[in-house]
């Protein structure tokens, strides 16, 4: 454990599905006073996230290498448990401890954000001296899906692909794995993206109070709140569907139930988590694996379409292009 150097300053993990406000919440945590690691290693910005993704490149590379070492689909139900076992093995433990030591060297709370982190919580639980403080974002999955398609495919294809069923499955797997782990970590907060943009003052204050209670204050409350509020630009709230998630025909009852569960937790209505309520449909793994495969092969074959550096860092296998 990375505990020998005295009480560690505290790790914050921002979790949630892709395109669900995780970057915004990570930025809020940074503005609150957590440090995200070497700014030069925070990856690229792009037009979808002009202020950045707040994802530490060496951390993402470690996650990718762990998945490649397992040679197991991220979407295999055994993945979280299998990857957790690697925390006790060399060289993974040494690499993980070096990363954590680097983050702790600043002596202040630090923050990591990466949507796939939800699948790796068991791994980090074995490496960190204390469980991370987790902030989970929740956004209406079909809105996040539109954003995801736009971020993942060339313009002409993104207009034709729906991928709501795909994304909702991805969201369900990530959030269910996250919630299962959070049963062991009392220090977590669920933040609804829509509430954050509709009631920024209230939600930022809620976030500040949550972090201060766990990690102490980083600055004067008013000053801190003002800095954080500046990060929220409702103009960046794209992909708002008119149709409620619960009215979508292709969404299954357990998925609607999961969103309801998360929304209640985001409204500070504690509710026990029972994974059996949120069962996956039988085709879920096939579709999740196939989409990753198609996208990988398309990027190798399609003129004008390449995986971004961020995508390549996150791909759990050697890309078709590399191969």
């Amino acid at each position: 454990m990375v505990e020998d150097r005295g009480k560690p300053p505290g790790a914050i993990f921002v979790l949630g599905a892709d395109r669900s406000g995780t970057s915004l919440v990570a930025e809020l945590a940074v503005r609150w006073g957590a440090h995200p690691g070497d700014p030069a290693r925070l990856g690229e910005t792009d037009e979808l996230n002009p202020r950045g993704y707040f994802e530490l490149v060496p951390m993402q590379e470690l996650l990718r290498d762990l998945a490649r070492a397992l040679d197991l689909s991220l979407w295999d139900p055994a993945f979280p448990a299998r990857v957790a076992e690697l925390a006790d093995r060399s060289p993974w433990r040494e690499r993980a401890e070096a990363l954590v030591a680097d983050m702790e060297s600043e002596g202040s709370p630090w923050v990591w954000k990466e949507p796939l982190l939800g699948l790796y919580l068991g791994f980090w639980e074995r490496v960190l001296a204390a469980p991370p403080i987790c902030i989970v974002t929740v956004r209406r999955p079909h809105d996040a899906a539109r954003s995801f398609v736009r971020a993942s495919f060339p313009e002409e294809m993104s207009q034709r692909l729906k991928l709501v069923t795909y994304f909702v499955l991805r969201w369900q797997v990530l959030l269910r794995a996250t919630l299962e782990s959070l049963e062991r970590y009392p220090a977590h907060l669920v933040v609804a993206y829509e509430s954050l943009l509709k009631s920024p003052v209230q939600q930022v204050d809620r976030l500040c109070r949550f972090l201060a209670a766990r990690l102490g204050s980083r600055a004067e409350p008013a000053e801190r709140l003002g800095e954080m509020l500046e990060a929220i630009d409702p103009g960046l709230w794209h992909h708002k569907s008119e149709i409620p998630f619960c009215d979508l025909e292709q969404v299954l009852a357990p998925q609607k139930d999961l969103l309801g569960h998360l929304e209640r937790r985001a409204a500070d209505q504690p509710e026990p988590f029972d994974p059996a309520r949120f069962a996956f449909p039988p085709y879920y793994r096939e579709w999740l694996d196939n989409l990753d495969t198609f996208r990988d092969f398309l990027a190798a074959a399609e003129p004008g379409f390449r995986l971004s550096a961020r995508d390549r860092r996150r791909l759990p296998w050697r890309s078709a292009e590399e191969a």
């Binding site: 292709q250 039988p282 085709y283």
Partner: protein
């Protein structure tokens, strides 16, 4: 002998080609054989797909400006049948087939989904429907349509089971309006060729009032059944696959009973398609087609379409 058409229906890679071969050997005219899709490793005895008909099926599909899997597809087909441009082409194709003066045969997997169009022009076809373990058909389908190394990575158990369920429900919907049909179980045909060929021959003889020579016809037909071509046997039962849903298992049981001449009524409500199926099929196809630089009908059609176009251009 009556001049009725014989249509072979069923999902891809479920024995539609071998059954077409049997019907052809029975005596049905399959059109000018030089204008058929050429045989290949996947179907060494031929596809029995008549290129002008196939090309037209494809044009009809494209003209609906929609997805094959969309619930509104059947309605669009029916409307298209009223369009004189398509009506005239359909009638010309039928007239071409009738010119031989004997029962004639069409087979193409797309026919199963386009029957709402053809019903207007073919009021009383005789139909033969093939049933095979969908898992084996799916393996064959993947082998045929996904080149290495993609084939090693793409998984098709769910995809093909949904494609099969969708197709067979469309066939069963149509057969509710057409009592002249026979279900043939592919596995039984290869395990008991004599019994199944006799059953098919008897069905065709009675429906189409064939005359003497039944024994000769059966002998001709039997020669087409090559158990050596029974490939892509997964060894796994369809019922044991985790991706297969209860309704699909029940549908296979139902089709199996129909192939055993059990005249059980069809109740569509027992085999509902899950609500996410259409989107999965559409997105999967779009991505697969993009990879193959294919056209909008399904991963398999473009390859055939290319063959069709090349052959027609030569002709």
């Amino acid at each position: 002998v009556r001049l009725r058409p014989i249509l072979v229906l069923g999902v891809e890679r479920s024995g539609t080609s071998v059954v077409s071969d049997l019907i052809h050997r029975w005596g049905a005219d399959a059109g000018d054989l030089s204008r058929h899709v050429a045989s290949d490793d996947h179907n060494p005895q031929g596809y029995f797909e008549y290129l002008p008909m196939q090309s037209f099926l494809h044009d009809v599909l494209v003209s609906t400006h929609g997805s094959l899997w969309d619930p509104g597809f059947a309605g669009r087909m029916e409307r298209l049948a009223l369009d004189p441009r398509y009506r005239d082409r359909a009638q010309a194709l039928i007239a071409e087939m009738e010119a031989a003066g004997r029962p004639w045969l069409w087979k193409d997997p797309l026919l199963s989904l386009e029957m709402p169009f053809w019903e207007r022009f073919l009021p009383t076809p005789v139909c033969v429907v093939t049933v095979r373990n969908p898992n084996d058909s799916g393996r064959s389908f993947a082998r045929m349509n996904f080149p290495e190394p993609l084939r090693r990575r793409v998984r098709t158990n769910s995809y093909f089971a949904f494609r099969w369920q969708f197709t067979m429900l469309a066939v069963l919907d149509y057969l509710e309006r057409n009592p002249d049909h026979l279900f043939v179980r592919y596995e039984r045909l290869l395990e008991d060729p004599a019994g199944q060929v006799a059953r098919l021959g008897h069905f065709l003889d009675t429906r189409l009032a064939a005359g003497d020579g039944a024994e000769d016809r059966l002998a001709q037909m039997l020669a087409a059944v090559q158990p050596g071509l029974w490939r892509n046997r997964s060894g796994a039962s369809f019922f044991d696959l985790p991706e297969v849903i209860a309704e699909q298992k029940e549908l296979l049981c139902y089709l199996d009973r129909r192939a055993s001449d059990d005249p059980e009524p069809f109740e569509r409500a027992r085999y509902p398609l899950p609500p996410y199926v259409v989107e999965y099929l559409e997105d999967f196809n779009l991505l697969a087609q993009r990879l193959h630089r294919l056209e909008p009908a399904g991963p398999d059609l473009p390859r055939r379409r290319q063959r069709a176009e090349a052959a027609l251009a030569e002709a």
